[in-house]
Subunit: 324 residues, 4 copies
């Protein structure tokens, strides 16, 4: 059994709705086991500089409905350097911290793998709107981001329909098309451009719009994941090939913030509590993950090679079938 008496918790990388629920669950769960919790500010940066706060249940009582992360976050450049990782590890040892719970995305997990080598026990929780942690079917924040993007596109569509235009909407996701796929299907997009599936053939997009225009339709929606292609160029191309006025909207940072959805609060709570159980049970260097909609955990070293979260092929097929 565990010897855990004190744990640190931090959030790292892009902020994601649900991180606060995970923090709260870590603090509440730890309290039930008599474990002390120290919050680390600004992710790995705060480990290096030892910027911390003691966290008790009273400090995190009613934070489930708050966007962002109360511990702040960063993408730490210094943590890529062994020297600073050693400094962080020293800080933890000096302060008698037995384990770290790190909540974040792909970069956070890579940082944890390196950090493990300094002899630190680290438990990871996948938190990122992008769903780019390959071992987990779900990452905290995705559901809220998908809803925010969907509601924003609903509004854009009102205006697009009123004017008889084509709207090209760029959503977040970095190398992953989940937000685009969900928000695009939810808003009946005419075309959804995903990094995982994009073949560079713009003609398919413009032809689909042209065909519908000839069928008598007069407003159109294209949802594109950031990084796949330039939204402005795409809009210009649509205009040029079809003659239809096309306007670009880049949803941007609204997708990161906002009150978390019920799911992100629930899964944040579940993952935070599960991470504490892992530590209490004496396990080391694990990542919490969702597989088949259930909580499991992997070794962080193996995690990068596990693929639970590729674009679902039936979903993708339907995104073509159901395009409006």
């Amino acid at each position: 059994m565990s010897e855990i008496k004190k744990i640190a918790v931090l959030t790292s990388g892009g902020d994601a709705p649900g991180m606060n629920s995970a923090i709260r669950a870590v603090v509440f769960s730890a309290a039930r086991f008599g474990i002390e919790v120290v919050g680390i500010f600004r992710g790995y940066e705060g480990l290096i500089d030892w910027e911390t706060i003691k966290l008790e249940p009273d400090d995190v009582r009613n934070i489930n409905n708050r966007g962002g992360t109360i511990l702040y976050t960063s993408r730490s450049e210094r943590f890529l350097d062994e020297k600073f990782r050693k400094q962080a590890a020293d800080n933890l040892r000096k302060n008698n911290v037995d384990a770290v719970v790190a909540i974040g995305g792909d970069g956070t997990l890579r940082g944890a793998i390196d950090f493990e080598k300094e002899g630190i026990n680290i438990a990871c929780i996948p938190g990122t709107i992008d769903r780019d942690v390959s071992c987990s079917e779900y990452t905290l924040g995705f559901d809220t981001a998908a809803n925010t993007a969907t509601e924003a596109i609903d509004k854009i569509r009102d205006s697009s329909i009123s004017h008889g235009r084509c709207s090209v909407v760029e959503v977040m996701g970095r190398k992953r098309g989940y937000i685009a796929l969900w928000a695009g299907m939810a808003t009946s997009a005419d075309a959804i451009i995903l990094p995982e599936k994009w073949d560079g053939n713009y003609n398919n997009v413009t032809d689909a719009i042209k065909r519908r225009h000839e069928d008598g339709r007069n407003s159109y929606l294209v949802v594109v994941a950031e990084g796949v292609t330039d939204a402005n160029e795409l809009a210009d191309l649509i205009k040029k090939k079809t003659g239809i006025e096309s306007r670009v909207s880049v949803l941007g940072y609204i997708q990161r913030g906002g009150q978390p959805s019920a799911k992100d609060r629930m899964y944040g709570s579940l993952m935070g509590a599960y991470a504490v159980e892992i530590l209490v049970n004496g396990n080391k260097n694990r990542i919490v993950a969702i597989k088949d909609d259930k909580l499991i955990d992997y070794s962080i070293n193996e995690a990068l090679n596990i693929q639970n979260s590729q674009i679902d092929s039936f979903q993708y097929k339907l995104s073509l079938l159901l395009s409006d």
Copy 2:
């Protein structure tokens, strides 16, 4: 392979967000297979009276974001009577309908099982905010309802905190505690009363509140599923046992309506398209279901005996652990 040339689609029982996405997906998918679709109004009532509308993609183009069901719904008393089921079956045969897609909850499924005996091929889609279709881990509308309840309780909590009160909030769910569990955990409830777990011991609730009051807390939240206990009596009891002013809110019908969440639009789309695939592949009398977060299907006769959707024990444990 299928001989399906014409299908009917209907919604039955309590309306649920996401039903429109399922209808739309049925119509779009059918169109790809060259299948004609007739919409039936008011569930099984419309089958009996043959109140129908021809549905083509243009009729359902942009309905994903609409609450309720464009086909209306009912709980048909007459359909419990074999005479009317025969009449419904005759109507379908007379109109050359090869199969019916029925979207609804537990009652809808039971109706389908009886209807099968009239020689009608029926494919069911679980759509109900209550998640009371035992064979499926998910039913359309739950996610939206859980979010609506969560957002409503967030608001109630603002007022509860400002006044230093206890709020007792009754949510929907009939015999199921999912909405209570999710919305209660998402809003950090002090106690969540679920039909599946309720032992009738009010002292646990009032003691928890009294204990926190003594610790210096001054506002409280109890979330209770409808039907478990009388919310007004519970509030009176809390007042009597703890001296703390307690007010009741019954969330009611707001939980049924509203623009569907991204998940309900997505899963509605997936389930609708999947139902058409089942029929096209020549299968008969199946129900679409979610298991391990994936689409599967069961025979409707077996479905009632399959349990994929009991209250998750880890979630329940946490609801106690994380109570605020």
Copy 3:
């Protein structure tokens, strides 16, 4: 010019969205004039018991988007007793407080009038969702409450239409029908029952529904202000007289909370800053009010006799004309 060096700020009566913006504006404005601010907890109760907190800009920096009131509130029974008002006045003098800014509704204003007799300079800000401060066309919180009620009824209506029912929705407002009038008109209600206009004649309501039913309509909406009539009795009557299934929804406390609308944040900011200007300019015992959509102020003694906020007759006429 003013000799004001220190002011107290409190919120009293029912909490209302926008109160936090008013508190923030008081603190920020006071800081610009070099005035110290002390926050009083739980309204007049905190004055009696001297439960306070020093407030500087850093303490209220980003609270515009929070529902409820960070200073808590109460309806103080004790403050109706001269003995406790004297105690409150002593507390203020002992602590060198030169003036009080009190944010609240009708009861708060009456308390202020009594309190003035103890030699305390008090500036009032009308904050209540009910719009029952007669001297002001607007009171903080109304806009948010009207939006919350409107959005809730939109959802109820989705379900009402799907089932072909009549929905009877009770909204807040105490003796005032504003929320009912706005939310009812915004949701195309068939009948809106206002305390100011209600003649007790239920036949008008049931006849209107019957008439529309005969015209082929099949869903209906009645919005009723709390206190005018019993919503359940009304629903039963509608069922009895028209044969149409009628269901009651009581919106309740969700109307008090929630993130404030842009207007309530803006007007809260304006009123808070204006109250400080009044005090800095040497005025005593004034209430901030809105007339012709502009900021003005009255003597609190005269305020009760000034009527700027009766139900607008054109609005009322239209509520009949435009009923759906």
Copy 4:
């Protein structure tokens, strides 16, 4: 008294939430007076090409909660040409239309003034999110747009705070700063850049941020109206002068769409009904306007010279005073 037997209604220019309520009120009010209504598609374009639809109460029954405009809209280039205005006037006469109700912004009003010369009686309703109709203190859609921008910036701020960044947010408004002023004040912006007040001095902005940074703050918000300055250049400048990472968000078209707020539904209803009253009372070529929060009307020729809607000086002063 009026001889009005048939009126046309159209929406023109940028779509704005609340336009549908105005259309509905026109149709309902006209019906009470026994006046026929014809809906014109795509604004003045539909007048020229006579693309129309007969509108009865049943056609607009429950549209208050829909964003955009059911009649579509456009900015008609052709209507700037007398030839096409004559063609439009001929169409109206040929179809026995006695008057036109035109809902739109500044450009719509200018079109109406020109159109009056063709002998057509036209009543205007100010509908534009920009509030750029100088004779009216309010224009339909502003309240919804201000709320949408406020909610979006709330979300951006969550992320900005989590990362310790400066966010530069560009909102709509064309030549008017109302959305920026309201959304900026509602979200406690550090600086709000308005076209009406902008002196080109970026140092004021960067100095304010630098000063707060030195005071220990670590996240910042700048709200800028489109067209005043380039948001990307401003962010670069902030980065350069203060060393703080600055990110741009352009809110874009989400500000035009969405379910209208209670106010836009209410004022849309009031303005639509008032416009019909004007016509019924025999008045010609009037524009409905809001002054002192009340409905009035002006001659459309005089309207351009009337200023009821400049940036309020007290509001502006406070936007500086209350900057966070």
